[in-house]
C-alpha cells in the first residue's frame, strides 16, 4: 500500500511540475533503473564492497548512495559518466548509450524537488 501511495504522490508531483520541466515518464525511469542496476550499482549501490558509495561517504556526502540522492542534476550525471572522476573511469557509448544515459539521469533525478 505504501508503495502505491508513493507512486501516486510521485505522479501528482510530476503532473504539477510538468510545465516546469520535461518530466521523465515512468517507462524511462524504469529503464533507467535497469541500466543503473547493470552499470552503476556494482560501485554505487548499497551493501559491502561498493567503492563508489564508500568514497562518497568518506567525502561526507549524505546520502552516499546515488539512488537516494535528490540533488543530482542531469548535466552532472552525464559529466561523471562521460568523463569519470578520480578512480571512476568514463563509459563508452557501446557500454552506456546516450539513450541509456538519459534513462539513468531520469532515474537518479526522479525524486528531485522541482
Amino acid at each position: 500500500m505504501k508503495n502505491a501511495r508513493v507512486g501516486l504522490l510521485l505522479a501528482l508531483s510530476l503532473m504539477i511540475t510538468a510545465p516546469a520541466f520535461a518530466a521523465p515518464d515512468q517507462d524511462q525511469i524504469e529503464k533507467g533503473h535497469k541500466v543503473y542496476d547493470k552499470w552503476c550499482f556494482p560501485c554505487h549501490g548499497t551493501g559491502l564492497g561498493k567503492p563508489g558509495t564508500d568514497s562518497l561517504a568518506a567525502r561526507g556526502q549524505k546520502p552516499a548512495v546515488l539512488e537516494e540522492r535528490t540533488d543530482l542534476t542531469v548535466p552532472a550525471i552525464k559529466t561523471f559518466v562521460r568523463h569519470g572522476v578520480l578512480f571512476m573511469p568514463m563509459f563508452r557509448k557501446t557500454e552506456v548509450s546516450d539513450a541509456d544515459l538519459d534513462a539513468i539521469a531520469a532515474y537518479l533525478t526522479r525524486n528531485n524537488k522541482p
Binding site: 564492497g49 578520480l86 568514463m90 557509448k93 557500454e95
Partner: protein, 553 residues
C-alpha cells in the same frame, strides 16, 4: 580529426565511410568527444602529448561485421585495436598501444551462446562481462560458478586473453588455462575455429581443447595475431560446501616451511581454493579481508599503532630482524598467516583441513584458527559478508584501492599494476622484498613496504603491487620512470612480469631476451606472415609490424 599514422586523410575518410556501411553509422565514433571515451582512464600519461589515444572507434555487432572491418582496414592499411569490454583498468583500459589506431570495440557482441550445466561450460562473445554471465546463470538457476577476476565488469574473453586470474579452484582461476575452444577472425578477415571447433559438426568444441595438429590458441593471448570472436570456458560446478581455516606461524623464518607445506597441499589438491597470505605482525591484510576492512572505514593497509612495533618495523626495513621475532613472541602476534579454502563435500573439507593442520604442525608454535563453514549456496546474508570472488560472485570492491577513505583523504585517479612472477618459496618472498625495498628507497618511492605475493597461479607467486596514478603530471612521470627501473631490477634477478599496461609492453618484452631476443623474433616472423599489412594491434606486447620496425631502426 586525428588520422592514423601513415594513412592519408582522404583514405581515412573513405575507410570511415566504409566502416559506417559495415556496422551502421551510429556505431562508428569519430567526434573528439566520443573518441575521448576510449582514453585509458588510468593512463599514467594522461594529459601528456604522448598519451596513447585512438583516432576513431568502430563497434561491430557480429563476426561478419568484424570481418568486414578487418578487410577495410587491410585495404587502407589502417591500424585497428580490438578491445572486448575495455575495462582492464590498471593494464591499459580501451586505449590502443599505437596512438591513432582505430579501436575495434567488441562490447556490442555480448551474446551468451551456450551455458551447459551438465558438462559445466559456457560459450560467449567478447562483449559479455562477468556480471552478464553471472546474472544469466542466476536467472536460469544453474548450479554453476564463474571464476571472476577482481573487476566484475571485465570480459571473460578479454581477461582470459590477457591471462588474468581469479579466486576459485586452480584449474578455474587461471583464466586462459580454463578456456576451451576459440573462434578467431584472422588479419586477412577469414574466420577460423580452433581445437575441436575446426571439425564442422563438432560436438566437443568446449570439452577438448587442442583438437588435431598444432594447438595454436596460446598465440592469440597477449598478442596481435587475430580478433577472438567466441571462446568457450570451463565452469566450476557449485560445490556442496565451503570451509576455511587459518594457519598462523610465530617467526620470520617460518614463512619458508609455511610456503613449502602450502605447495605440497595445493599440488596434491588438499586445499583447492586460493590461499591467502597475510602478516598479522606487519599489518598486511588478507586479500579476502581487503574489501571488508575498507567497508569498516579502515584502510586495508593500516599499520599497527604500537610505537615500539612501528619503530622495529622501520628499523628492519623489510629484512629479517630478531627483535621483531621477539616482539611477535612477546605479544603473541603471529608473524605470518595463511588462510586456506576448501570447496567440496562437507566431510571431505573437514578431513582436508584436519590433514593440513597435521602437516603444518611440524612448524613449532603454529596456531590454527577455524574459519567459516558454509553449506552452499550461500544465504543472502552470507553473500553480503563474504569475499565475493571466492564464491564466484563478481564485484567491483577491489577498486577501493587508492579510493578516498577516512584514512586516505588524497585519493588517486587510478593505478597501474607492477606484477612480476617470483618462485613459490618463502626464500623468494624475502629476496623480492629486500630487492624491491632497496630499489624503492633509491627511487624515492613512498608506497612500497613489505609485500606478500598473490597466489592466483598454482605453481608461482605474483609479487604484485600498485603504482598510483594521480592528477599531477610530474608525479606520474616520476612513477613511470620508477616503474621502468623496477622492470629492469626484476629482470636482473630472474623475475619477469606476467602482464602490463601498453606503456610498458616494449620494455618488458625486451627483458625476455634469451638468445638475442629469439622469442620476439619468432613472434615477428609469425606476425609478418599472418598480418602482412600489420593492421592488428600494432605494438601490443612489444610486437610491431614490419613497417613500424623498419621505420624505428
Amino acid at each position: 580529426m586525428r588520422v592514423p599514422p601513415g594513412v592519408s586523410a582522404s583514405d581515412f575518410a573513405e575507410a570511415i565511410k566504409q566502416f559506417q556501411e559495415a556496422v551502421g553509422k551510429e556505431w562508428v565514433f569519430t567526434s573528439a568527444e566520443d573518441v575521448a571515451l576510449y582514453r585509458d582512464a588510468y593512463s599514467p600519461l594522461m594529459g601528456e602529448p604522448n598519451e596513447l589515444v585512438a583516432s576513431a572507434a568502430v563497434a561491430p555487432d557480429g563476426v561478419e561485421q568484424v570481418q568486414k572491418v578487418v578487410k577495410i582496414a587491410n585495404r587502407y592499411k589502417i591500424p585497428i585495436y580490438p578491445v572486448s569490454t575495455g575495462k582492464n583498468l590498471g593494464y591499459g583500459g580501451s586505449a590502443p598501444v599505437l596512438s591513432g589506431s582505430v579501436v575495434l570495440d567488441l562490447k556490442r557482441m555480448n551474446r551468451i551462446l551456450e551455458v551447459n550445466e551438465r558438462n559445466a561450460y559456457a560459450l560467449v562473445e567478447p562483449g559479455v562481462s562477468y556480471f552478464d554471465l553471472y546474472r544469466y546463470i542466476q536467472e536460469k538457476g544453474l548450479k554453476l560458478w564463474v571464476d571472476v577476476p577482481d573487476p566484475g565488469w571485465g570480459s571473460p574473453i578479454g581477461n582470459s586473453l590477457d591471462r588474468g586470474g581469479g579466486y576459485l579452484m586452480p584449474q578455474y582461476r587461471n583464466h586462459f588455462d580454463s578456456h576451451c575452444g576459440m573462434e578467431v577472425v584472422l588479419a586477412n578477415g577469414e574466420v577460423m575455429r580452433t581445437g575441436m571447433g575446426a571439425l564442422p559438426a563438432a560436438q566437443t568444441w568446449q570439452e577438448y581443447k587442442s583438437g588435431f595438429g598444432p594447438w595454436i590458441d596460446g598465440m592469440f593471448s597477449q598478442s596481435n595475431f587475430g580478433v577472438v570472436t567466441k571462446m568457450g570456458f570451463w565452469l566450476m560446478p557449485e560445490p556442496d560446501a565451503y570451509l576455511s581455516g587459518t594457519v598462523i606461524v610465530p617467526r620470520h623464518d617460518d614463512l619458508i616451511p609455511l610456503v613449502n607445506t602450502l605447495n605440497y597441499l595445493e599440488n596434491t589438491r588438499v586445499t583447492n581454493g586460493m590461499p591467502d597470505l597475510a602478516s598479522p605482525l606487519l599489518g598486511i591484510p588478507m586479500l579476502s579481508e581487503f574489501a571488508a576492512r575498507f567497508d569498516q572505514g579502515a584502510t586495508p593497509f593500516d599499520r599497527p599503532q604500537d610505537a615500539e612495533l612501528t619503530a622495529l618495523i622501520a628499523k628492519a626495513g623489510g629484512n629479517m630482524s630478531p627483535e621483531l621475532d621477539d616482539y611477535a613472541q612477546k605479544k603473541g602476534i603471529g608473524y605470518w598467516s595463511c588462510k586456506l579454502s576448501f570447496y567440496g563435500a562437507t566431510k571431505a573439507n573437514a578431513a582436508n583441513w584436519a590433514y593440513a593442520k597435521e602437516k603444518f604442525s611440524a612448524i613449532p608454535g603454529v596456531k590454527f584458527e577455524e574459519g567459516d563453514v558454509y553449506k552452499l549456496p550461500l544465504t543472502a546474508e552470507q553473500r553480503e559478508k563474504v569475499h565475493k570472488p571466492q564464491f564466484g560472485i563478481p564485484s567491483l570492491a577491489m577498486f577501493s584501492i587508492g579510493a578516498r577513505s577516512a584514512m586516505n583523504p588524497e585519493p588517486s585517479t587510478g593505478h597501474m599494476w607492477f606484477s612480476p612472477i617470483i618462485p613459490r618459496t618463502g626464500e623468494a618472498i624475502f629476496e623480492a622484498n629486500r630487492v624491491f625495498a632497496q630499489a624503492a628507497k633509491e627511487l624515492g618511492l613512498p608506497f612500497l613496504n613489505f609485500n606478500l605475493p598473490s597466489t592466483y597461479w598454482e605453481r608461482a607467486f605474483i609479487f604484485i603491487f600498485a603504482f598510483p596514478v594521480v592528477k599531477d603530471i610530474e608525479t606520474n612521470k616520476k612513477n613511470v620512470a620508477s616503474f621502468r627501473k623496477l622492470i629492469q631490477v626484476a629482470a636482473d634477478h630472474g623475475w619477469g612480469e606476467y602482464r602490463t599496461a601498453p606503456v610498458f609492453q616494449d620494455a618488458i618484452m625486451n627483458t625476455y631476451s634469451f638468445n638475442n631476443h629469439a622469442l620476439l623474433h619468432f613472434h615477428e616472423t609469425v606476425k609478418d606472415a599472418i598480418d602482412p599489412n600489420g593492421i592488428l594491434s600494432a605494438g601490443r606486447y612489444g610486437i610491431w609490424p614490419k613497417h613500424v620496425r623498419e621505420a624505428k631502426s
